[in-house]
């Protein structure tokens, strides 16, 4: 049973990751966004941790969660910098029009949020479930 569960969880893991990225990018126009997307992704890893082991989930994440948090926060900070040059104001977003969609630094900001949430939630889940073995 645990094999099936484990396999299923890996499938869910991939699906949820895809869904999380979808949530992240549609957030500007539909309900969603970096935070919810990040939570979805984190839940994906958490599922892996609960179903398999914390070690496996950490391996799947590749980077250290705290490093991910730091990078995400830094990315969010960076996304605010362009505004200083155009407008003298932090977090004034730059936009580029690609067809009908607008891509801008706001998206980068949201990605930063996304990363912080993944890293943060995973740091918590890993720590809380470390040593809890089935």
């Amino acid at each position: 049973m645990s094999v099936i569960f484990s396999t299923m969880s890996r499938l869910f893991f991939v699906l949820m990751l895809v869904a999380s990225i979808y949530m992240l990018f549609r957030g500007h126009n539909e309900p969603g966004g970096g935070f919810i997307g990040g939570l979805f992704a984190a839940l994906a890893f958490a599922l892996l941790a609960l179903a398999d082991s914390v070690a496996a989930a950490r391996k799947a994440l590749i980077v250290h969660p705290v490093v991910l948090i730091g990078c995400g926060l830094f990315l969010a900070f960076l996304s605010g910098l362009p505004g200083l040059f155009s407008d003298g104001s932090f977090l004034t977003h730059w936009w580029a029009e690609l067809g009908s969609t607008h891509l801008g630094t706001a998206t980068i900001f949201d990605i930063g949020v996304f990363m912080v949430v993944i890293g943060g939630v995973l740091a918590l889940v890993f720590r809380f479930y470390e040593g809890v073995e089935q």
Partner: protein
Amino acid sequence: MTFEWSILIALAGAVVARPVSSVLGRHTGWAISLIPLFIFVSIFLHVAQVAGGEVLFAQLSWVPSLGVELAFRLDGFSLLFALLITGIGTLVTIYAGAYFAEKPSGELGRFLSLIMLFMTAMLGTVLSDNLIVMFVFWELTSLASFLLIGFDGHKEAARKSALQSLIVTGGGGLVLFAGLVVIGMTLGTFSFTEVLARSDELVASPWAGMIAVLIMIGAFTKSAQFPFHFWLPNAMAAPTPASAYLHSATMVKLGVFLLARFDAVFAEMPAYGHTLVVVGSLTMIVSALQALRAEGFKAVLAQSTVASLGILVMLIGLTGEVAAVATVGFILAHALYKAALFFCAGTAIHATGEASLGKLGGLARFLPVTAVAAVLASLSMAGLPPFVGFISKEYLFEAQLSSDWNVVPVAIAVLVNAVMVGVAGVVSIRPFYFKPERVSKVHHGETAGLLIGPMLLAAGGILIGLVPAPAAQWLIGPAASALYGQPIDVSFSLWHGLTPMLFLSALVVFIGALIVIKWTQIHTALKSFDHAYGFLGDRFYHGALNGVLGAARISTRLLQNGDQHRYTTIVLLTVIAGLVIAFFAAPSGDFLAGEGDIRISVALVLALTVIGAIATILVRSLIASLVSVGIVGFGSAVIFMLNGAPDLALTQIAVETLIVILMTAVLLRLPSRTRHSRTVSERRRDGLIAGGFAAAMFVALASIGVTPVDLRLSEYFGETSYLEAYGRNVVNVILVDYRAIDTLGEIAVVAIATIAAWGLLRGAIKPLRTKE
């Protein structure tokens, strides 16, 4: 060079003393003494000017925003004090150099540095014209005194006495400070000269009584007046040069200085003078009794110092120009002989290592010059002709007899002065000439440094007594005039004719001689009343201190008792009390919102959340509690969904899930069985508190619905969200654009919280096996 620089020079002395001592070693005392000597001379150069009726001023800007200027004033009275401070200061530094000869030079350096710091403070206090500046220096004298009393900090007695003097004089200083601030508030100025000029205005103000009381209390603590008299004898824990300087000749006279200064201001307020006479007399009686039963050499001197301060305070309380002359004359005479006697006592104690008078005797063999100086100084103290002490005592009685007081103060003065005569005899004749068998050898003899001070001071006493005219004309006259406010022609002379004063003096000497002879008997007799003396000593101080500390202990024990439940309870009670106060202070009117349509679905979900919330309280199992918390969370997610907030609903669900996941991990590790952590009555009380808080929040929220929300912010967001920020989801646009910095802060919180948790749980979690 103008006079105000002397303060800075003294301060420079304080700074260099320590380094100099490491170069010059034992000779540091001589070297440093040049600084006060220089100041003495430079101030002395102003004597003629000041005696001519001139008042010198100097002013520098300091804190104009607060009305505090570095203003200084040199008149006859401050000149006399400045000369005493620097003159005796010179002798003290020399004496200290010899006194510390066997100690490490660093210790001497530290001591001299403190002495110079003290001199700075004293000069500043007497020269300041700005009341706040005066207070600055005033507190510095307390601090220097603290440091000097505790100079031998490894001795417990020294530490205790130092603390006591700091508390009493520092506390008095704060009272004085209040008085000064009120003066500034009443007159709009801190300049003493201006206060003096507008004294009628001050006395007429409603604050006048309070100001007088505050200033008197401040001065009484400093000058060791009853009931603050106890700290001064205890201050004798200081090294003797410090005792001679601070606790007899100069610092303790600051209170007198201040009272005398303000005597002119409060001339129109008779109660001021009357209080001084009463307090001064009380102090005299108490300290005279204490002097008779004191044992230590320095202790006897200290008690007599307190008595002298009482005499001075009483003199200030008397009106008339004779009283002014008597005050000034006694300040001068007392400074000369008391400092000399302390020097002699220091030499005797230093030489023998023995501080109790009863164990000293026949020291004249080993310390002949000191013995002579002691006798000379004590003759002046006893008020015998031809010493300056005699003249000042004559003036004292004249001032008393010419005042409108009845016979009681005179009788007190006679008795106290008789005790002073007795003390004078006891401290000079007994240790140096009586019972030669008691001391057979001494550790140290006399050195030049130990002799210069007492000899010069004792000689000064007899010199002024024999040739009083110059001192009267140049020092006492100007000083008394400055006090009195009008020029006084002082006829300071030894022989006034066969006056009542002379008769009183003779009476004093007669009784005093009896006391000298019967000293031991009186001493023993008084000793048997020890328990009664507790009330005259520092029992009052200890009672007050222990009372305050006891109150502090009780209050802290009650408040900060370590029980989180108590903390939360008190905070919540405070919050509820605050909200109740606010509620009753609020304008009356509609505060309950009118009803809208009731949406059944929403109402049902709300009811579910309420049930969930109540369930968290009622269920005992933590898991069940967690589930109930989850119900509330998911319930509010549904509420969000039903009111057009899908983002919120999604987030709330995700967060609630995560919270449940995390808390489950915690619950897995906690003991599953749990007890009631509160007693029944506690739970009942907590229920009331919770109900009170809920009621307050209900009122707040219900009254908010009265006015519809102003939607101009949201309208703007709705209008610009797509056109300027290119987003259709207005909530998300607010999060990443309009209020992106909020979100940045929010992810910072997430980042920091998780980093903190990561560190907190690092490597310490014990493995835990759950059932399959």
